[in-house]
């Protein structure tokens, strides 16, 4: 099995297998890159409804071809039928919402399910026709790359590459349309025509994918690579390229897997590969990933805990005899450290050269630690005063609110707050660059 899989993936399985793998990959490229625009324009579910609406057209094309004595396996005829009924489906969504009584989500669900039902009924008519080839039609629902002819794969690949070329030609205007339709209209772009072009490309890619991925899951290969790329990058051009590559990879690997493991529906395998890539990116993406997010949160909470302890140490120096040093445990209590922070922070602070532990267990700030602690204390008091003066908060509340904002608001905002205080309430601050008095005058710290 593994040798056969390797053959399928390395394009060593004979001419037909190579063409099929390349055709699927071309389709994945088109679906992934177009998917970015479909996603950003909010058309994902219309694409799903349109894909389901291809079934009656495909079945009807089969029936008509059979009645006229043509070749019922002719992919161009079947796909033309699918495209026609999908267009009708898209028009039906518009017609259903026109009255204003049904919202577009209901209209899309209706078109999707009813046209699929019609297709299923027509399929049962197909079963009773006295011709062969009915079994192939089922491949259009869930995808069946196995047994695809080289001609079919070439047709799919040609359709997909045509869509990619059109997309590249329309990249600029489509990007403007997706980000701001009103702006696009204001600068004179033909927005209705562009929307129509996007819809046309979507239909073309959908029917191109019917044979390989199937109508139920074709929308998955448009949406999932695009969503994956969106997690990884902020730039549209990179996103489109990345989504196209991801789609191509998923289609190629999925088609190869399902070709070697008969029974595995091709569409489902391709979509699962795309999903696995999505989940990996969701977890590991450098900036938007779940892990990166958790890491930033942990970092923030660690820095916050450190800053509070340094402030506590600094304020203890201010009030008490300078010779008396607080121990780590006391500092941790004052700063509200959690268990793991108690274990980690003394080591980290010492390692960073901010403090040393003296013989009696007292914590002595180094010159660097002292400077940092003074800055932190100053920042905190600044916020306390600002929140009391500008925000009208009572002293205790201002102290806690300052704890919340001082670690997350950027320095520019803190400078603005200071400038405001200098203008409106200079008495609170004392000399420029000096240390303001504690913000909760007359209050004992909780």
């Amino acid at each position: 099995m593994s040798a056969a899989l390797l053959d399928a993936l390395l394009l060593a399985g004979g001419y037909n297998a190579i063409v099929v793998a390349l055709g699927c990959a071309a389709f994945g490229l088109a679906a992934g890159s177009l998917g970015c625009f479909v996603l950003l324009r909010g058309r994902a579910l219309v694409a799903d409804a349109a894909a389901h609406a291809t079934l009656p057209g495909v079945a009807l094309a089969f029936i008509l071809t059979a009645l006229l004595g043509g070749d019922v396996r002719s992919l161009p005829l079947l796909l033309t039928g699918g495209a026609a009924s999908a267009s009708l489906g898209v028009l039906a969504v518009g017609a259903l919402t026109r009255g204003g009584r049904l919202r577009d989500d209901a209209a899309m669900a209706l078109v999707l399910s009813i046209s699929f039902g019609l297709g299923v009924v027509l399929l049962s008519v197909v079963q009773s026709l006295p011709v062969g080839g009915q079994a192939g039609l089922k491949g259009f629902i869930l995808g069946q790359a196995a047994g695809m002819s080289a001609f079919d794969a070439q047709l799919i690949g040609a359709l997909a590459l045509l869509a990619v070329l059109l997309l590249a030609a329309l990249f600029r205007p489509l990007a403007v349309l997706c980000f701001d339709r009103e702006f696009a209209a204001a600068v004179g772009l033909p927005v209705r025509l562009l929307d129509l072009a996007l819809m046309g490309l979507m239909l073309a890619v959908t029917v191109a994918g019917l044979r390989a991925v199937g109508l139920v899951l074709v929308v998955g290969l448009m949406v999932i690579p695009a969503a994956t790329a969106r997690l990884a990058t902020e730039r549209l051009a990179v996103m489109v390229l990345l989504a196209g590559l991801l789609g191509a990879f998923a289609a190629w690997l999925g088609a190869g897997l399902s070709a070697t493991l008969p029974g595995l529906p091709t569409g489902a395998t391709i979509v699962l590969v795309a999903c696995a890539l999505f989940v990996l990116t969701l977890v590991f993406a450098p900036r938007r990933g779940v892990l990166a997010f958790a890491w930033r949160q942990a970092q923030l909470s660690l820095v916050t805990a450190r800053d509070h302890a340094l402030r506590t140490a600094f304020e203890a120096r201010e009030s008490e005899a300078p010779g008396q040093l607080a121990a780590w445990a006391e500092l941790g209590r004052g700063a509200g450290w959690s268990a793991w922070q108690r274990a980690l922070l003394p080591w980290w602070v010492r390692q960073a050269g901010l403090a040393t532990t003296e013989a009696a267990g007292g914590v002595a700030l180094t010159p660097a630690g002292l400077a940092l602690a003074r800055d932190l204390t100053r920042r905190h008091r600044l916020w306390e005063h600002y929140l009391q003066s500008a925000g009208g908060l009572p002293p205790g509340t201002a102290h806690h609110a300052a704890d919340e904002v001082e670690h997350t608001l950027p320095p520019e905002v803190a400078r603005e707050a200071e400038a405001w205080l200098r203008r409106h309430d200079p008495d609170r601050l004392g000399p420029v660059d000096g240390l303001p008095p504690p913000g909760e005058t007359g209050m004992k710290r909780p």
């Binding site: 139920v216 929308v219 998955g220 489902a268």
Partner: protein
């Protein structure tokens, strides 16, 4: 008659019950603007159904319902995560999650070998109404015969139970649901929990999806969930009438669809029946077209036309 009892009564009943259960529930989805949720859940519960089937090895309802609920809740949480992390609009996040779940379900069917037993891809796509036969029936007397009734397909009995559950829920929460549907802001301000309601709707929709799975499959259940409510919505603005009309539409869709697919061809002398689940969706489509045409002429449409008349600027303003 005996043939009808043996071959057609149970599927027809199951189809009707499934449409009624889903159709009445669909009103909640439509009125709270969550029709997409039905779409998403019906796809997302598939891996749960297959896993439940795999674990228990039978068509017993409980493990499948449990699996489906877990899958529905898991999918909903994932949709929220994907929305916030990937900054996607809800429709796109749903598309990502439910196509992934559906694909997983399809692959699970193959991997678990469920297809060798009873559950195959065809069942997912079109349901398995024709499997609901009642061979114990010997004549009209069987309908009153407890021994024969014990052999009646369990799927139909489960559906009846689910329908009762949904009717009970609607009766119990009649006023609350009405408030949540028509004035969600006010409902929230007086302390009525919309979160609890959405969880309840989620759970009920996943139960209905499992119950209707054998009758119509995973995709056509969307028609049963959305179409009756939409048909009623086109015809009325009254809350109670909305439920009555959708019930009637569901009845017509289930019984009429089955009749048109299985019995009408026989009456016409054709030896080939049509797909019943598909025909139910087609019936719903015809009813929808009728409701569209009728709705424009009816009182609702007239009110709309009146609003739509543009206000003419007074001539004196020139």
């Amino acid at each position: 008659m005996t043939e009808f009892l043996q071959l057609d009564l149970a599927p027809m009943l199951a189809a009707t019950l499934a449409c009624l259960a889903c159709g009445l529930l669909g009103n909640l989805l439509l009125l709270t603007r969550q029709s997409l949720l039905g779409d998403a859940i019906s796809h997302a519960v598939l891996p749960g159904i297959v896993a439940g089937f795999w674990v228990s090895g039978t068509r017993a309802a409980a493990p499948m319902v449990a699996g489906a609920m877990a899958a529905a809740v898991g999918a909903t949480l994932l949709i929220a995560l994907v929305r916030s992390r990937a900054r996607l609009e809800p429709g796109a996040a749903m598309g990502v999650v439910f196509s992934g779940f559906f694909a997983l379900g399809l692959v699970l069917i193959e991997v678990s070998g469920a297809h060798a037993v009873d559950l195959d891809v065809d069942c997912v796509l079109y349901g398995q109404l024709e499997a609901l036969i009642w061979p114990a029936a010997t004549g009209p007397g069987s309908l009153l015969d407890p021994v024969a009734l014990a052999e009646f397909p369990a799927e139909a009995k489960t559906l009846a139970l689910v329908l009762l559950l949904i009717l009970g829920l609607l009766a119990l929460l009649w006023k609350e649901l009405r408030l949540a549907a028509f004035d969600p802001d006010f409902a929230r301000s007086i302390g009525f929990a919309p979160r609890a309601l959405s969880l309840l709707v989620l759970v009920m929709v996943s139960v209905a999806c499992v119950a209707a799975f054998w009758a119509v499959g995973s995709i056509l259940v969307i028609a049963a969930l959305v179409a009756p409510a939409a048909i009623a919505r086109l015809l009325t603005d009254a809350y109670a009438r909305q439920f009555l009309l959708s019930g009637a539409a569901a009845l017509a869709m289930g019984a009429g669809g089955y009749w048109a697919a299985a019995l009408a061809p026989r009456v016409l002398g054709l030896d080939h029946g049509l797909n019943a689940a598909g025909m139910m969706a087609v019936t719903a489509g015809l009813l929808l077209v009728g409701a569209c045409l009728l709705g424009r002429r009816g009182p609702a449409g007239r009110a709309q036309r009146r609003v739509a008349i543009p206000v003419r600027a007074p001539a004196a303003a020139e």
